[in-house]
């Protein structure tokens, strides 16, 4: 069997990351050196651990590449264009779900205020029914229903209902028994 280029790619990427870390990131973003001497006392600095690890990464990546080339057994990796297609769809569902979770409540409150409701800010209402549930219920429903729809490759009433029920049950599970527990996104508001 020919060697798998994905493992060589991973080895090269890891080695490049480790070399950049050694050459740029650690010098720029760590205050002390590898070893520090202060009042004739020598101690290990904050740069020691990441430096040793990064050097180890370069070595392990080189050995991984060498073993791939010498053995040619194939890495068994299953990351291909189908994986990327799946991840793109799934990431879109998660992004929409989390965006709805974060913004639905504040947007609804803003809309009511704009229509003359004068109910106050979302921050003031974030522990008040129904506002505190809006984002989590809508975002959670889209997240669960959307993920199922991606896998089953169809959006049915059953899928949508599963999303709604899951979001409702989890809301009950987390919010009803615990007074001091905040559902997303209410802790950020």
């Amino acid at each position: 069997m020919r060697f798998d280029p994905r493992s060589l790619g991973v080895a090269a990427a890891v080695a490049a990351f480790a070399l950049l870390t050694l050459g740029i990131w650690i010098p720029a973003d760590v205050e002390s050196g590898v070893v520090e001497t202060f009042r004739r006392r020598t101690v290990i600095g904050d740069a020691m651990a990441p430096t040793v690890v990064a050097i180890g990464m370069v070595g392990a990546a080189a050995l991984l590449a060498a073993s791939e080339i010498l053995n040619r057994r194939g890495s068994g990796a299953t990351l291909d264009r189908h994986s990327l297609a799946f991840i793109a769809r799934f990431a879109a569902v998660i992004a929409v779900g989390l965006a709805l979770m974060s913004h639905t409540g504040p947007l609804v409150v803003d809309a009511i205020n704009a229509l003359g409701g004068a109910i106050g800010t979302y921050r003031e209402l974030r522990d008040t029914v129904p506002y505190k549930y809006l984002g989590y219920l809508l975002g959670g429903t889209v997240l669960v229903g959307g993920a199922i729809a991606v896998v089953e490759q169809r959006l049915t009433r059953g899928v949508a209902l599963t999303g709604v029920v899951a979001a409702l049950v989890l809301t009950g599970l987390y919010d009803l028994p615990f007074d001091d527990l905040l559902l997303p996104p209410n802790g950020d508001q």
């Binding site: 990064a54 180890g56 050995l63 990351l79 189908h82 991840i87 490759q153 615990f178």
Partner: protein, 523 residues
Amino acid sequence: MGVLDHVWLGVVTVFTQAPVATVFGLPISIVVLMVVLGFLGGIVVGATPGLGGPFAMAISLPILITIFGFNPDALLPVLGFLIGIMKGATVGGAVPAILFNTPGTPDSLMTTLDGFPMTRKGEAGKALRIAHFSSASGDTFSDLVLFTCAPFLAITVEVYLDFPEKAALIVLSLAFISAVVGDSVWKGILAALFGMFVAFIGTGEDHHPRLSLGTDALAGGLPLISVVLGVLILGEVFAALEDMWREKRATDSISTPPATGDNRLRLRDIRRILPFVGMSAGIGTMVGALPGIGSTLAATLGYATGRRLHKGDVPFGEGAPQGVAATEAANSAVAGANLIPVLSLGIPGNVAAVFIILATETISGFNPGPAVFRLTPDQINSEMVVAFGLFTAMVFANLLNWTVGGVFMRSMGIMVRIPKQRLLPIVLLLTLTAIYAQRPEMLSIYVTLFFGLVGYLMRRLRFSVLPFVIAFILANNLEDAVRQAFSATGADPWFLFSSPISIGFMALAVLVVVFFARGRGGQ
């Protein structure tokens, strides 16, 4: 205060702490209640294909901490629940393997080989009873070894190991886990190094948090629970959903297993399977005591050894009860023994142990490691009381397993009817909500999702996630031990080779890596 006083205090605490109800005049403590709930919940998740003990532990830990808080009184109820889940899931995993040829957990894979043929012969009930008997036997044996070995190992470590030896021991453990888990030694080592690197972000002793890119988000370090749950749970959820998505694309369907019948377990059946149970319990316990190897290999070794020993009418692989017994006793015997390195050295060896460490890191008052079993004259070591309380909770969970576990397990066949593709997205939302409950900021959700993607990519590129997680947890302990060893030896750069014991550990670490690299050609 002697050891027996601590044992007694541990037992008393388990059965008297904060009674929540009374049954037949007897007060039921919160610890007892949590062990019961954890055990029954563990059977349910173990019997649900696609879930398993680690999922349940991951989801429940933040909720438990929210309920019980961070003070030492929370330790035994939280640990009792986690132990209950660990034991229940091990038993429950056999149900879908036997009834529907669908292993609930990876270590139940070998159970399908004889369990499902028994089901097809109309002996599903007998197969389930044999699985339960063998699993409970293996688990009980393993726990007894844990209770005996962990304190002695811890005392030995405390007496003989100083900072250089402790640092070398952590290096040896990480080398061992990296080498034996997964199918490439170098990938295992890369995963462990990456885990350590991530742990170093935002930590250190300088005023400026290292590697934080000048951001507040990284300045406090990456949240332990977000990284661990992301890599372990969300990575698995993403990979499993993609597998089903591919199956749907290829076949236009997602496979769901059929249903089946029942039977009895007789004394002569027990006599037939006992040698296999005993042998597999020994194998599982030995495998479990070594960090990183895990129950899947124990099940495989138990099954393979059982096949050599077997001389019955029905060959292994065609519905031999001994095959089910050998597998279940071996994979269940891993659970207790896996806590030996946790309690005596503070080193987690498998995923379940990672959650025990996560709980103790989050709740104050118990730091697994050699100091747990340190005796001080005229003083109570509260950590030792917790350790013996934990042992008591394990014994109680075993009693539950022997009494109600079998009946409850056999009623769980229905769980396999829940479609995995609908369950896993709910697990995703549940995990994200649990993370937010413990750390109420969207950033913790984004970090968890990012490490979920890391876990997914590692699985797809055949990198084992266990070395990453264990190295992430141990990295700062290792750095502390190295700093202190360096100072204690007067800045000797060869401090890791300053004593015969540390030289031995370091040599063993190199030997383990070379041995497995040569044996598998690095693969």
